[in-house]
């Protein structure tokens, strides 16, 4: 195809094959036809949080990966899996090889629960716990303790709901999911009966979306409960019309939970608000979490009254995410994104998705976000005659890095589908060496 632009086309490396990486690739292919697009991913498998974050029982949402597969196959996109910045190559080396580098590496670490006892056995961050039940290779060996009747989840967002729901579902309910086999076995043997979702603030401040909240009222063996005296009768001021709509529906949900009957259910999901964790108790492993009741005074959380202990053998904190200083780049003060100005870090280096704006928004938010940054790259960058993939390939070969192609991923996927238990879409491979054994050398 003849080049319409004058001069050669750019070569661009995108780092991180989650939604932000794919949407950005799609936008760049449309805006800069002829550019060389390489998608680098630290795991041998693509799709980021679609594969390892979206709950395994939300299979319809996971079908978004068909959209990304279509992108991968309809544009000239080279997938390079099992290659990690700071492990296999440095960011400086990558920038020397490519005209433009776009970071779409997410914010993949848990915000720390900084209270005494947080290092006890049985205490996990949500990234680790969700990664464990979703078969993320980094967390396949987590082996969380599900042998006590109590579980505490700290945090008031949809991740807390996902964790509670997976712990509360029956084996029959999970049969149509792609939950990791090790997690299915552990949950089948779980002794958890009471799952406490704890929030510092109230039901109006909670970030649950209504669809996720309602789902907790529709479980086979579990009931969702709330304390009637913690559910306000009205919404109060200071909310936008959109927030009012969403929060009103949530309050309606909590009123149903507050009126529900705990009896005759195998598991109970108990919402408790206005309580902040002050210590995790236990000798060798967690035995309880100590909470202090709080009041909201002029928007601020203030402690008051006697502390109380919630017995548990498992604690999952879902209180947000942090990014690490990839390639030594400065992290924003919030700790959850790279310092950047509307997606630009410096000439030739851009950032999209959570790494750009912090851990917020839905899958679709990344589409507009990727388009905006792609526009910017088209306007501000041009081919600088860098070698592109040839240089990366030479480095990887020299270092003996075994990388996976998109064809290799399709082989892994076919093996996962072939191994699926009855009714399930796939049985995930959870070890990188198992995956690489299926990849072409």
């Amino acid at each position: 195809m003849p080049q319409l632009d004058s001069g050669p086309s750019m070569n661009i490396a995108i780092v991180g094959a989650g939604p932000a990486g794919f949407y950005t690739a799609e936008a760049l292919a449309a805006l800069c036809p002829g550019c060389e697009l390489d998608l680098i991913e630290r795991l041998p498998t693509p799709y980021g949080l679609i594969r390892s974050g979206v709950a395994p029982d939300h299979q319809t949402t996971k079908t978004i990966q068909q959209t990304f597969e279509r992108i991968a196959q309809s544009i000239n996109l080279r997938f390079i899996g099992n290659v990690e910045i700071d492990r296999d190559i440095s960011l400086a080396e990558l920038r020397d090889a490519y005209d433009v580098v776009v970071l779409s590496c997410g914010a993949p670490h848990d915000a720390p629960l900084d209270i005494p006892g947080h290092k006890l056995r049985g205490v996990y961050g949500a990234t680790a716990f969700v990664g464990w039940y979703n078969g993320h290779p980094d967390y396949a060996e987590l082996a969380p303790l599900l042998d006590s009747p109590g579980a505490v989840i700290i945090g008031n967002g949809n991740v807390a709901i996902d964790v509670a729901r997976i712990l509360a579902k029956s084996v029959a309910e999970l049969a149509s999911s792609d939950i990791a086999a090790h997690a299915m076995r552990a949950i089948a043997a779980s002794r958890i009966g009471d799952i406490h979702i704890m929030g510092r603030r109230g039901p109006i401040e909670a970030k649950f979306t209504n669809v996720e909240l309602r789902e907790l009222g529709e479980l086979e063996e579990a009931v969702a409960l709330a304390q009637p005296d913690q559910i306000p009768g009205a919404l109060g001021d200071g909310l936008s019309p959109r927030e009012r709509r969403e929060k009103a529906k949530n309050l309606e949900c909590f009123r149903l939970f507050a009126a529900a009957d705990a009896a005759a259910h195998r598991r109970r999901i108990r919402f408790q608000f206005y309580a902040r964790p002050v210590a995790i108790l236990g000798a060798e492993r967690v035995q309880a979490v100590r909470f202090e009741p709080v009041r909201i005074d002029a928007g601020r959380v203030a402690g008051h009254g006697q502390t109380f202990d919630v017995p548990c053998g498992l604690l999952v904190s879902a209180i947000g995410y942090r990014i690490r200083a990839l390639g030594g780049l400065p992290v924003a003060e919030t700790g959850d994104r790279l310092a950047n100005a509307a997606g630009k870090i410096t000439a030739g280096l851009y950032v999209v998705g959570w790494a750009k704006r912090g851990p917020s928004g839905k899958i679709g938010t990344n589409r507009g976000d990727g388009e905006d940054v792609a526009q910017r790259i088209k306007a501000e960058e041009s081919a600088a005659g860098k070698p592109g993939f040839a240089a990366l390939e030479a480095m990887l070969r020299r270092r003996g890095v075994h990388w996976s192609s998109f064809t290799d991923w399709k082989t892994i996927e076919a093996a996962e589908i072939a191994a699926a238990p009855a009714g399930a879409p796939r049985r995930k491979l959870v070890r990188v060496d198992e995956m690489l054994a299926l990849c072409a050398k």
């Binding site: 939300h58 319809t60 949402t61 978004i64 979306t209 669809v211 709509r245 839905k362 938010t365 507009g368």
Partner: protein
């Protein structure tokens, strides 16, 4: 599972849903949008952002006929990815009852 647009969208057509949708599964009629049920991935991102509260999940009471309605018109109307102009009198039509009978225009959006 899927979400569907109901008559509450008619003549409101705020299009806030479009930015939230990861799969671009909205289709545009002259005065409302619909969701193609086969393409919807049930992520729920559009439902809370609709100012007219026009979007329902397919397990809501009465939603079934709306899924069929959406299926029918998604096959007839053009795909829409980015928001266009919002009708000037959109606010006046929020929550008005009986719009399907009196206001619905089955014509596809002009392209």
């Amino acid at each position: 599972m899927a979400f569907a647009v109901t008559a509450l969208c008619i003549r409101c057509k705020f299009q806030d849903c479009l930015q939230s949708c990861p799969v671009s599964c909205f289709y545009e009629g002259e005065n409302m949008l619909v969701i193609k049920p086969e393409d919807c991935i049930d992520c729920g991102a559009c439902e809370p952002v609709c100012p007219a509260e026009a979007i329902v999940r397919d397990n809501a009471p009465g939603a079934e006929e709306w899924v069929e309605f959406n299926r029918k018109y998604a096959a007839l109307w053009p795909n829409i990815r980015k928001s266009g102009a919002v009708p000037e009198d959109a606010e006046e039509w929020v929550g008005v009852e009986g719009k399907l009978e009196t206001q619905f225009n089955p014509a596809p959006a002009p392209r």
